[in-house]
């Protein structure tokens, strides 16, 4: 398979092959590393400014929990933007889901199925996901099959949902704080379970690497360098264990963060390893070429919006559980955070480019900024200004580095 290899001679010494392997990995994920670096710098800065309080277990625990709602939205937004679309309705849809769920909690379960917290929690979740998915299906249908631009459809939908939220809440705040339901966003996993999850991750990573090597062998492809592969596993699991250790110092892995991690894994798999994902990227890269390659564009875009709706459903349920009530302001402006996170994470507004992991780091940066600025008692007005400036600066830095690398 000489076409797969850059090196002219087979006798390159092991060290330079290793370096090359690492370099290509670094290069292909350049943007992810750059943004991770930015995140690290931010954390160090805030830690110094707050005399270490910033990195305390409780603060870190809260910081990660805070990012979950927008993260669910940002993950879906990656698919939407990658296909060359936009969804302005996600914030209000999540908000709508949260007030509907709160409504059922406050007015229905309590009468129909009193004293059954588990059942009512399960039903709340199902209703929340169902409402989100349905709305996504509807939007997807109008965008993909009726051909109305997504910007328009979701802008309109944002207005409609704002109205719907008012109708459901009647302008009042609805409590949503039944015991088990509240745990969805406010609960913690027991510490031992936390460690167990760490070990599961480690084993899964190892198995995945072994599997990768075995399969490459099977097809006679150049297997990845074992050292690099192992280093990847070690670094990843060190991060995971470090995180678990730190949040266990407080009260354990936060349930919503765990849910987010699971969702992100599934979505990453969808993006990279399924036809659905490949088609989404191809459509964003060149719609015409994708169409002529037999990609069913309408179906793909419909599915992307349906999926976005489902993720809004999840976000809405977590939101209701997190704040403990549904209000008229629920989810307002979240779409902007979601879009900003995706873009900070390297999603291209031109379509065709973007990763789930990038969007997560983007969301983490946004949430780190919020927390840090709050701790420093920066006025909310200036918090907005700083976030906006960071977004523009980050994209400029990316443009700049791309240009100078050429």
């Amino acid at each position: 398979m000489d076409i797969l290899k850059t090196s002219e001679t087979q006798t390159v010494n092991a060290r330079s092959a290793l370096m090359e392997d690492i370099l290509t990995r670094l290069k292909s994920n350049f943007q992810t590393y750059a943004i991770l670096f930015a995140l690290g710098a931010l954390w160090i800065l805030f830690t110094i400014l707050t005399n270490g309080a910033y990195m305390g277990p409780q603060n870190i625990s809260n910081l990660f929990r805070q990012m979950t709602v927008t993260s669910f939205l940002a993950i879906g937004m990656v698919f939407v933007i990658v296909t060359g679309n936009i969804d302005l309705s996600v914030g209000r849809l999540a908000g709508f889901v949260s007030v509907v769920v709160a409504y059922f909690q406050a007015n229905v379960w309590f009468r129909q199925i009193p004293d059954q917290p588990l059942l009512s929690a399960v039903l709340s979740v199902l209703i929340g996901l169902g409402v989100g998915l349905l709305w996504g299906v509807l939007q997807g249908y109008i965008i993909a099959f009726l051909g109305v631009p997504s910007f328009i459809v979701t802008l309109g939908s944002m207005f409609i949902l704002s109205g719907a939220i008012l109708l459901v809440t009647q302008g009042k705040t609805i409590p949503a704080n039944q015991p088990i339901f509240s745990d969805i966003a406010q609960g913690y996993l027991p510490q031992t379970l936390g460690w167990a999850i760490g070990f599961i991750v480690l084993v899964a990573l190892l198995l995945r690497s072994l599997n990768k090597i075995r399969r490459k062998r099977k097809y006679g492809l150049q297997p990845p360098n074992i050292g690099v592969e192992l280093a990847g596993v070690i670094i990843t699991s060190a991060l995971v264990f470090g995180y678990i250790y730190w949040v266990n110092e407080y009260r354990g892995i936060q349930t919503p963060v765990f849910l987010l991690a699971l969702t992100a894994l599934v979505m990453s798999h969808l993006a990279n390893n399924t036809r659905f994902g490949r088609y989404a990227y191809a459509i964003g890269g060149n719609r015409e070429a994708a169409r002529l390659s037999g990609v069913n564009i309408q179906r793909s875009i419909f599915l992307v919006f349906a999926l976005m709706g489902l993720l809004c459903g999840i976000a809405g349920v977590v939101l209701a559980s997190y704040v403990g009530y549904g209000t008229i302001a629920a989810g307002q402006g979240y779409e902007l955070d979601a879009i900003a996170s995706a873009i900070l994470g390297g999603t291209s507004t031109l379509g065709g480019v973007g990763t789930i992991s990038g969007a997560l780091i983007g969301a983490l940066i946004m949430s780190s900024l919020t927390t840090g600025l709050q701790m420093l008692n920066v006025a909310p007005a200036w918090q907005y200004v700083v976030k906006g400036a960071v977004l523009v600066l980050a994209v400029y830095a990316d443009v700049y580095f791309k240009r100078s690398r050429q």
Binding site: M1, I3, L4, K5, T6, S28, R215, K216, K218, Y219, G220, L221, H269, N273, T274, R275, R278, Y279, Y281, A282, G285, N286, E288, A289, A290, R291, L292, S293, G294, V295, N296, G352, V353
Partner: protein
């Protein structure tokens, strides 16, 4: 300013990309007022050298020196504009016009005549008109570019390039999309430029053209200059020899075909333009193609060849009448996906717009239409994908350091090979190829011809459209000729002469179906 002095002296220029040395110590000279032909295989480095001259790759991103018009060429700040100001103009391999603007607007894009902040439209159009007239370009400055054919667009590109008193005009494969008549027109224009003492660097894969207009030919192979001589030094065979580094005896491979049953048959097909339903693009087309056969479709530009194959592929015309049968069964094809299910594949005409996702890797491009082959339960078998794609890449000799390289890092010809590779992988029953060798060098052309022959010998039916009549005649078993959206009849290759085909293509001759 005497004719014949050296205007461009390229000395030891080397340009590297990650994994490839595109230009390797290139030196040659271009004389003022000459037409300097530049030829070489796909990926030899022609376009790269031209991009250095025009400032796309600025001074410092390559090694070596370039002396232009007596002083060293150092394009550093705003290099592209600087090159234009110095009189180096380029018409790129791919057309770069804004379709929704008029000819005049395109020519003056970025340098509109302004007075107190307002564009002087009258001045713009009259100057555009003068410019077009000066070089004998027959286009109206007020026509929207989207209404022009490719040939005229090419002329607009040239006018745009010349609008700043160019001393050197670079034409990178200007004729790859032109019809014969348009090529003739372009040759006249170049001769006219020569009279105005404009130096022309001319790149093409249609080697005959060099012998019509070039004064000097420089041959690149693998980034190195292998010859730079006056045109009289070469013969066609010699030129090909320099290019590919070995002798090539024939242009078309021997045929090894066994023609079988009819796979695809089309009867009385009529269709409308979906974007403009009053325009009839197909007005009665009938033909059939058999297993193991290559059917050529000849016709002038605008005769409906591409419209026909796109309609067959379910992606263009609204069919109003006629039937399409595949293996005897009448089918209704509404999308590319349907077409692929029936075993049709289409190598489209325009690789950048229709063939490739330029920002994605070669690998992903090749596998895009074929993901069903690698998809297991909920996941794609990426290793199987790599194996299959690299097999195709290898058999087509795609020149790249890695399948992970982005499609837009390839030279034009190699991009075309990727498009062909992706469709070969889909194992079609009927392979439709719309101008498959556009922009491909002689050596690679021969490889593609061999591949077509091999596919046909394995029972694939091939429909070939080409802007080069010779190619159609050289490769086909039968030739169907189209004229104004109608099939004028099908000739067996033994009776298809250039004259006969041209007569039918211009509507002077028709075979009545009895």
């Amino acid at each position: 300013m005497s004719q014949g002095d050296v205007i461009l002296d390229i000395r030891n220029v080397t340009k590297r990309f990650p994994g490839v040395t595109a230009l390797d110590n290139v030196s040659f000279q271009v004389r003022r007022g000459e037409v300097h032909g530049l030829c070489g295989e796909n990926g030899a480095g022609k376009s790269t050298l031209m991009k250095i001259l025009s400032g796309v790759y600025p001074y410092g991103s390559y090694e070596g020196t370039i002396i232009y018009d007596g002083s060293e060429l150092k394009l550093v700040e705003r290099p592209i504009q600087r090159a234009r100001e110095l009189g180096i103009a380029i018409v790129y391999q791919e057309l770069m016009l804004v379709p929704n603007m008029t000819v005049g607007e395109n020519i003056f894009l970025g340098k509109e005549p302004v007075e107190r902040g307002a564009i002087q439209w009258d001045r713009l159009y009259s100057e555009a008109g003068e410019l077009l007239a000066k070089y004998g370009l027959n286009v109206s400055p007020r026509a929207p570019v989207r209404t022009l054919g490719v040939g005229k667009m090419q002329m607009v590109e040239i006018a745009k390039a010349l609008s700043e008193n160019a001393k050197v005009l670079i034409l990178d494969e200007p004729t790859s999309a032109l019809t014969e008549a348009e090529v003739d027109r372009l040759m006249e224009i170049i001769a006219n430029l020569k009279r105005h003492n404009v130096t022309c660097i001319y790149i093409t894969h249609k080697l005959e053209e060099f012998f019509r207009i070039a004064d000097t030919i420089t041959v690149l192979r693998d980034g190195k200059v292998v010859a730079s001589q006056p045109v009289g030094h070469y013969t066609l065979e010699k030129l090909v020899g320099y290019m590919v580094g070995r002798e090539m005896k024939e242009r078309f491979p021997k045929r090894h075909r066994h023609i079988g049953d009819v796979v695809l048959s089309v009867e009385g097909l009529e269709a409308l333009d979906p974007n403009n339903p009053t325009r009839r693009v197909l007005r009665g087309v009938s033909f059939d193609v058999r297993r193991g056969e290559i059917l050529g479709i000849a016709g002038l530009m605008g005769s409906g060849r591409s419209e026909l194959v796109n309609t067959l592929f379910g992606e263009f015309g609204r069919i109003t009448r006629g039937t399409i049968r595949i293996e005897g069964q009448e089918v209704c094809i509404r999308s590319a996906r349907d077409a692929m299910r029936y075993g049709l594949s289409l190598v489209p005409e325009d690789r950048k717009l229709q063939g490739l996702v330029l920002i994605q890797s070669i690998l992903k491009n090749i596998s895009l239409p074929n993901l069903d082959q690698f998809a297991g339960f909920m996941r794609i078998d990426e290793d199987a994908e790599v194996v299959a794609a690299s097999k195709q890449a290898k058999s087509l000799a795609i020149k790249t350091p890695s399948l992970q390289a982005r499609a837009d890092s390839l030279s034009g010809g190699n991009q075309q090979k990727v498009v062909i590779a992706k469709w070969l992988l889909s194992n079609p029953k009927v392979l439709i190829m719309d101008d498959p060798t556009r922009g491909i060098d002689v050596g690679a052309k021969y490889e593609i011809y061999k591949l077509m022959d091999e596919l046909a010998s394995r029972g694939v039916a091939i429909i070939l459209i080409s802007s080069e009549l010779e190619e159609v005649l050289g490769m086909s078993d039968r030739v169907m000729v189209m004229h104004q959206g109608r099939s004028m009849g099908t000739l067996d290759i033994s009776e298809a002469t250039q004259e006969r085909v041209m007569a039918m293509a211009t509507g002077l001759d028709e075979i009545k179906i009895v």
